[in-house]
Symmetry: C2
Subunit: 216 residues, 2 copies
DNA sequence: TTATTGAGTAAGTAATTACTTACTTTTTAT
DNA sequence: ATAAAAAGTAAGTAATTACTTACTCAATAA
């Protein structure tokens, strides 16, 4: 996997796929999510898609590039659009950070559940493959952190958030939200996440488990 | 991997290993942690350990059993002893839940860093292999949750914790602590975790990021 | 019409996979 | 000292791996 693979895919246009190419994509997503990239052979993908193995390599060249072709589009959608939709609307309005956080989580969970298999692949391979880690983690921080920083600082000024440094807040939130997605989607393999679960998560992120009187 | 594999290993006594067997164990740990179980061949392990491949299979029978033989002992140490050491001392003493949480985290982090490679393997394979998930996750909850429940309820009575249900607290704590270990040990591959990082984590778990005045 | 291009594939390829067999060497027990 | 058991290995095995080659067929462009 070359160093500029990620950028190459990031800038690629979406092309119309033939029926057989769509079957390849769907088979690969299914199998990668279920058994993991390393435990899925191209022969298996071809069999499930009912195409010849060579068709896969005609299109994608290598198994690695097939993986990236599945992951990158989701990635492009999940993180950059993360802010822009929810963020703009809620930020300048009358709403609270708590409201923002709730809508933000709901919104991202909905998107992740809609493409659950791809998110399972992303989380699994992000942990498993060193090269992916090195390309995607800086990207996530750059894209996500820069926008969330603005939101956090806005609500800090409104006095709704503590005055601990924004960077530390982001780190804690990433840790919890990352843990939330990993445990719900991958470990527990949930089909849906109900309102109460989201409510509990929001409450924890805002207030923790300590009683309010014990704040120091 | 059979269903009672886990119990079989759990009840096994620790046996003295020969020099070559130790080399096998160390080579396997190194490679599994670095490249993942699926991307490591038994031939590679044998080469790094400077033994014949057959020696591995003489001892462990299958590659799967080798993996379990590495993982299970750590597992036995990490989760059950989790409570007993830190828990008993701190619980009945004068200390606060905050103090308990801090010492608890420090203690577990120290143990995890000391066996960093094995914890990387555990986290990676827990996410990757369905069979492991099904055996280990219930075990974790049973062992860890039962003891932590006691601690939480003790400090609840002392008024140091909110009155949200203990189960929900545990879930949130697991999510955050799990995310913390996964991101620090696997994603960021840290060699050490400094006091301030722990302090920030404790603060987040207790108070979140909301200002204390905005508690509802 | 015919030349070109892109989609698709059957049948390979060499390398690698987890694991075995049949054997030798070393350690331990008596 | 010697028999038995355990530790270790060289040289396999069949199956699977990612990937290639040389081809056919259908659609489009000239």
């Amino acid at each position: 996997m070359s160093n500029n693979m990620f950028n190459e895919f990031l800038s690629s246009e979406s092309v119309k796929l033939t029926v057989k190419q769509q079957r390849i994509v769907q088979a690969a997503i299914r199998l990668f999510a279920e058994k993991g990239y390393s435990n899925t052979s191209t022969a298996e993908i071809a069999k499930l898609a009912e195409v010849s193995e060579a068709s896969i390599f005609k299109q994608y060249g290598t198994k690695d590039k097939l993986l990236l072709a599945l992951i990158i589009p989701q990635f492009k959608e999940f993180f950059p659009s993360m802010a822009d939709e929810v963020l703009g609307q809620l930020c300048r309005s009358q709403s609270t950070f708590e409201g923002f956080l709730r809508e933000f989580l709901k919104n991202r969970i909905e998107l992740a559940l809609k493409n659950k298999e791809i998110f399972q692949i992303i989380i699994k391979e992000l942990i498993y493959k060193e090269e992916l880690k090195k390309e995607l983690i800086p990207y996530i921080f750059e894209v996500a952190a820069s926008r969330l920083t603005q939101v956090i600082e806005l609500f800090k000024e409104r006095g709704e958030l503590t005055d601990i440094p924004t960077g530390k807040m982001l780190k804690s939130l990433f840790t919890f939200v990352g843990g939330f997605f990993a445990s719900q989607l991958v470990l527990l393999n949930k089909e849906s996440i109900d309102e109460q679960e989201i409510e509990d998560a929001v409450r924890f992120m805002l207030h923790g488990i300590g009683s309010s009187s014990s704040n120091n």
